[in-house]
């Protein structure tokens, strides 16, 4: 049993941590927050030069040809640093979409430019408040032209390539759009986390090409979101860890009533609750990373677990950080709100927690053989030998048939 990262992966993690510590300290984040600009082009180019944008991209497209475990440790460090980069949008979403759903020609045209950092890609999904559903997509693709509106596109102000969900001839389709091209009107929108820009787009007969390797648009999109959810969850765990560390540091040095406030049990126990939430999330993230790396069918439920637990842990860590800093945590000048904003942003960008919880239950029901993975057993061999739950499963399937959506 080796449920963890290899020494090589940990070394990579350390390298990324040191780079971001020098190149993207929290002051860098704050500068962007105050300037209202969503990214640091210099940081982006240096990151690209280190090869990290193409971590899982095959070498023939200029990538590093590594795996998802490597990408996961990079993600955790980006999260820990609150690095102001469109990394998730361009790497976990746009690059993955083309890598997995593009034709060979599309891969050749776009992957090298994404990997080199020349262009930034992003996903445009939401059209209104609430959770996107295939049945209410208003944006349409007709004869190679896109018409419709997308809002709250993450990193939308800096992205050149849009992966846009639209209604096509055969249902949901994902299309590639040049966001600087004709028929596209971009409007910057103020985000709760200004370290990622946000923009709305109005498409009027904008030239668009469907991702040619995709058969069923909505299920491809769900798969793309699952994989991105695991990677973003590592960012969230990184951010939550840093928030807890800073909270610990502060409460150890801040004295009240003659002793460090960290010595008061109420705060000790609440920091433990953050730590526990964080460690459970980390464990779920490792499960997700394993599922990504091994390409197992468990990715659908592992992704939900990783995302839900990481979103909750980061939200909790950030809120508790502010609370335990007392009044100073509420000031603009203090770094607490950088975490508070980022946590909320990350909890929303791929869909809110309640939507993922609903998705999880639907998937559990659909699987019918609802088995908690592992259940404490050491190895996959163990799992397959478990006593059958056939009577329980039969009851479950029968009882839930009417409720399955």
């Amino acid at each position: 049993m080796n449920f963890g990262f290899s020494d090589g992966q940990k070394e990579l993690q350390q390298t990324v941590r040191e780079f971001l510590h020098d190149r993207a300290p929290l002051q860098a984040c704050r500068r962007l927050l105050e300037a209202g600009e969503g990214w640091d082009p210099g940081l982006w180019q240096e990151t690209a030069a280190l090869g990290w944008l193409g971590t899982v991209v095959p070498e023939q497209y200029g990538g590093a040809g590594l795996g998802y475990l490597e990408l996961a440790v990079i993600a955790e460090e980006i999260g820990r640093a609150l690095a102001p980069m469109p990394f998730a949008s361009s790497v976990y979403l746009a690059t993955e979409a083309i890598l997995r759903g593009g034709s060979p020609d599309q891969r050749q045209r776009f992957l090298p430019r994404l990997v080199s950092g020349e262009i930034i890609g992003t996903l445009a999904l939401a059209e209104r408040p609430g959770h996107p559903d295939p049945s209410d997509t208003g944006t349409v693709l007709e004869r190679g032209r896109l018409t419709g509106t997308k809002i709250a596109v993450v990193d939308g102000a800096v992205a050149a390539l849009g992966i846009v969900s639209a209604r096509g001839e055969h249902g949901t389709t994902l299309v590639l759009v040049d966001l600087d091209g004709p028929g596209v009107r971009r409007q910057a929108q103020a985000s709760i986390d200004p370290t990622h820009s946000s923009a709305s787009f109005v498409f009027e007969d904008a030239p668009a090409e469907p991702l040619a390797g995709v058969n069923e648009g909505w299920s491809f999109l769900e798969g793309l979101l699952d994989r991105a959810a695991v990677l973003l969850a590592f960012e969230q765990v990184g951010g939550a860890s840093r928030a807890l560390e800073l909270t610990k540091e502060f409460t150890l040095s801040r004295y009240a009533f003659g002793r460090p406030v960290a010595s008061f049990q109420a705060l000790k126990h609440r920091m433990v609750d953050v730590y526990v939430a964080l460690e459970l999330a980390r464990s779920n993230c490792l499960w997700g990373a394993w599922a990504l790396s091994e390409e197992t069918t468990e990715i659908d439920v592992a992704a939900c677990s990783a995302r839900i637990s990481a979103s909750r842990a980061f939200d909790l860590a950030a809120a508790e950080m502010l609370q335990m800093h007392g009044g100073v945590g509420f000031t603009w000048e203090h770094d607490g709100h950088l975490f508070y904003r980022r946590a909320k942003h990350d909890a929303l960008v791929l869909g809110a927690t309640h939507a993922w919880a609903e998705k999880l239950v639907q998937r559990l029901i659909r699987r019918a053989a609802v088995q908690l993975p592992g259940d404490g057993d050491t190895s996959p061999d163990q799992r397959s030998d478990r006593p059958s739950r056939s009577s329980q499963v039969a009851r479950l399937t029968h009882g839930l048939a009417a409720t399955a959506r």
């Binding site: 080796n2 960290a262 010595s263 000790k268 459970l280 464990s283 239950v361 609802v370």
Partner: protein
């Protein structure tokens, strides 16, 4: 990242399986009460069979009859044995906790006399630690041992003692000096549970079961040759025992799990309600978090490391999860949830659940441990730390 056994672990698991396949079927159990003499005999026979074939005391040093294996082999063995219907392990206290204490602190005679019999299951042993007034603050215990000639005389009361009714022997920690601070005045003894002056009474729990006992000591004489470790060194001996208790990686998986809750929800016609589904998702995510945290602990064991205090996460989260899930399972059933015959034994689980959050380290103590030993936060102020025991307040003062 590899979730499979290493080659060595795989081979070990295969050999465990081979033994169990050959021997376990003969020991399948009918449900009987824990202290039914027939059950005890079966348990002893199974333990002897394991011992005779090299499957008892895996982690004991070879010189004491063990195989000197590590914690991961212990876990693998437990997983394999759990797949079979075998008699309950009445020897876990003796083998898992008290035997190692005798190895660490006992005399040569004590080791020769007791260890082989513990290993073979000839005797059931119990741990006489907690008292009515000393659970979380174990070092504040009040049972006394007073020297009288070649003996020590025990007076006091122990509580929450598992297996006391069945045990031939026990290890007790008692106060031998009230004039020094609490940790310094303790001594451990090996106690013959059939001695005069010992009375065992079962404790009735809120769920109607009696898994634990009170043990009353009234002028019970213990020979000086049964003292375990030096006079005044009882706390060190107790810590050895407690450390091994913590090392036991128990599965905190609920009897009631997410598939069962979904089935209950379906049976109650509420499986399509958003609020119900949100809670079920939350339970699933916490349970999977626990499962994979356990995998991380197994990874450390596989590397030969002992689990650190972060292993407390499993108990802290798991015990509350059992309580919340069983409460939810009951609530789903509406008025029918009041029936003890309700779906999936939610009611029995719910009544047993509070014990899990208290026994073996309360939620609050576990949070202190995680705060202090993992997060490195300051220790709790301890007003009694350097105070002679007889000066330590033990209740509201009725007079000055």
């Amino acid at each position: 990242m590899d979730l499979n056994d290493t080659a060595e672990e795989k081979a070990f698991r295969a050999s465990a399986r081979a033994f169990l396949e050959a021997h376990a079927p003969a020991f399948g159990t009918r449900p009987v009460a824990l202290d039914d003499p027939e059950m005890v005999r079966q348990a002893q026979n199974w333990q002897a069979r394991k011992k005779d074939n090299g499957w008892a005391c895996l982690t004991w040093p070879a010189e004491y009859g063990g195989r000197g294996l590590g914690p991961i082999e212990d876990v693998i063995w437990s997983q394999e044995e759990a797949r079979w219907d075998t008699p309950p392990n009445l020897f876990i206290v003796g083998i898992g906790m008290l035997g190692p204490a005798i190895m660490a602190h006992g005399t040569l005679e004590q080791k020769a006399r007791y260890l082989p019999r513990i290993a073979r299951g000839d005797e059931i042993w119990c741990q006489l630690f907690s008292e009515p007034a000393a659970g979380s603050d174990l070092a504040g215990l009040r049972t006394t041992a007073v020297r009288d000639g070649d003996d020590w005389v025990l007076n006091g009361q122990k509580m929450w003692t598992t297996f006391a009714r069945l045990s031939a022997w026990g290890v007790i920690v008692a106060r031998t000096d009230r004039t020094v601070p609490k940790h310094a005045g303790l001594t451990c003894f090996i106690v013959n549970m059939r001695s005069p002056g010992i009375e065992v009474r079962p404790i009735r729990q809120i769920d109607g079961r009696s898994d634990f006992n009170e043990v009353f000591f009234t002028d019970c004489r213990v020979s000086e040759s049964h003292r375990l470790g030096d006079v005044g060194n009882g706390w060190a001996v107790a810590r050895t025992i407690l450390m091994h208790e913590r090392a036991a990686i128990g599965s905190v998986g609920a009897r009631l799990d997410v598939p069962a809750l979904l089935a209950v929800a379906a049976a109650c016609g509420v499986a399509d309600e958003g609020e119900v589904r949100q809670r079920i998702a939350d339970f699933y995510v916490r349970a999977s978090g626990l499962t994979y945290t356990n995998y991380r602990t197994l990874t450390a064991l596989s590397r030969g490391e002992m689990p650190g205090p972060e292993a407390s996460i499993g108990k802290l989260v798991g015990a509350s999860l059992v309580q919340e899930m069983s409460a939810f399972g009951i609530d789903l059933q509406g008025l029918a949830g009041t029936l003890m015959s309700g779906l999936h034994e939610c009611q029995a689980t719910y009544l047993g659940a509070p014990g899990g959050r208290i026994a073996g380290g309360t939620d609050e103590i576990l949070r202190n441990i995680l705060a202090e030993r993992v997060l490195g936060l300051p220790a709790e102020p301890r007003l009694d730390k350097n105070v002679p025991f007889h000066d330590v307040p033990t209740g509201p003062r009725t007079r000055q």
